[in-house]
Symmetry: C2
């Protein structure tokens, strides 16, 4: 989707390097980390850094830390006590392969590893202490009790219930958009951007993050359900979606509106922002 | 056990402050965080800091971050996919009260919060960027794939198996002793101690950490089993313990040896080390 295979290969190599070793825990961590994926968050971080003329090597550890956080959340989301999913990206989920106990711990260790990467001597020698602290602050504010984990709790609590558009938006901003926005912010930080421009980068990330989630809902609702004649408002887990709450037409309008807002936020970058503009358009126009 | 009620009250207040708010997630986080406990790890951090003439206020955020890590590990340890415990410190476990999904997420959020605390502006304004990074590095090295989580995986894998004394020691050093040692190290860091003395503080922590775990095994094996005539080698979960592997007499010898080694490590502190010496003796002499 983003066509930057150079970045993708370098990310994948570095992710594996961080989890080298042969014990069960490391195998379980690598299993989900190495599932084929878009690497949306680390690529966004690196593309933002590049658009702002930052150095790739300064952003790579941040990009990997973000992917560790994202991957841990997938492992825990799939657990029987959460979404109880057997398959992820065409492969058995972590707990199906390693058992529930090891899967919980592999998730814990990946989140922990995100901290280790940011505080590592290797990282701090590259980016300096001040920047490492700012990156940690931005990332973990987005991923914890005021961000992703809060969104996951709202998600659990809304199961089988009818919820308002406001609560749905709050859930997705926390569960998905804040981490994507943090990925962009860390790219900006790695490039040494000032607060005024960081604010625009965060806005871009928040818009494409929310749009990404609405597109997920649209694709879920339309992919095989139209052909199977199922109700568009049905979600597999009985969860509220943008399609069930807003309807398909309005959900698509919202995608368009957020894409325009994302592009507007980075318009100040001019030609340097072309790749980020393309990513926004591709995300709004994707198929599963 | 440590008789420092002033520290205990200040720790408890600060821990609650970090998790203020009324949503389900914060309630679940506070529920286990507020269970009555010894607060061994944060008290150790503060007592080490005090013994090294450091300032209490610089160490308090670190002490709280350590307790967040310890508490998350308790919540996840109790889950059905791990030890499947219904009770913790005389109260129903987190997942019994809030459900498994919220319990997993409350644990995740507590681990995340540990890093938020260390990277917080409030903390960094107190201790400086360099020290915050060193503290994060020491804590999360001890709690992740090379420490606590690794120990938990070894623990899961050894269930129902006969294991060697070496593997048992490796398990407990990783699962318990490294985090206790990190607590001591963070106290030393908060006091601005140099590397040579930090090494002695780490050694003290590692010895009392391992001794603490062996005492747990001894107390588990002797508390009600002697009176009930059960086999001393039986552990409730079929897990290997120091008593089942070494026998009671040798386990007690090991406790004595580790206590002496801990006291020796901090003997250079002279009178300033009296409280740390007392803590080691009290831990080696405790009843449940």
């Amino acid at each position: 989707m983003f066509e930057n295979f150079e970045y993708l290969n370098l990310i994948n190599k570095k992710l594996s390097d961080y989890c080298k070793g042969e014990n069960t825990l490391l195998q379980a961590m690598r299993y989900t980390l190495n599932l084929p994926g878009k690497r949306l968050r680390p690529i966004l971080a690196l593309e933002v850094c590049n658009a702002l003329s930052g150095e790739f090597k300064n952003c790579l550890p941040f990009a990997c830390a973000i992917e560790m956080v994202h991957t841990y959340s997938l492992i825990h989301d799939d657990l029987p006590g959460m979404d109880d999913d057997d398959m992820r990206r065409g492969k058995p989920t972590n707990h199906k392969v390693f058992g529930e106990g090891v899967a919980i711990l592999a998730g814990d260790a990946l989140l922990n590893l995100a901290f280790e990467i940011i505080a590592a001597k290797e990282t701090v020698d590259l980016v300096g202490e001040k920047l490492a602290i700012l990156a940690a602050r931005a990332l973990f504010k987005a991923s914890g009790k005021d961000g992703m984990v809060l969104g996951q709790v709202i998600d659990l609590e809304s199961e089988g219930k009818s919820i308002s558009q406001d609560l749905l938006q709050c859930m997705h901003i926390n569960k998905t958009a804040k981490l994507i926005s943090a990925a962009c912010e860390l790219g900006g930080l790695a490039a040494g951007t000032d607060e005024e421009n960081l604010q625009k980068i965060r806005e871009y990330g928040l818009c494409i993050g929310l749009m990404f989630q609405i597109m997920d809902d649209i694709l879920d609702a339309t992919s095989d359900k139209e052909t199977l004649g199922k109700n568009l408002s049905d979600n597999e887990n009985g969860k509220a979606t943008y399609v069930s709450v807003l309807g398909l037409r309005k959900a698509r309008e919202k995608v368009k509106e957020l894409t325009e807002k994302a592009i507007e936020a980075i318009s100040y970058l001019g030609e340097n922002g072309e790749t980020l503009k393309k990513i926004a358009i591709n995300l709004s126009d994707r198929v599963k």
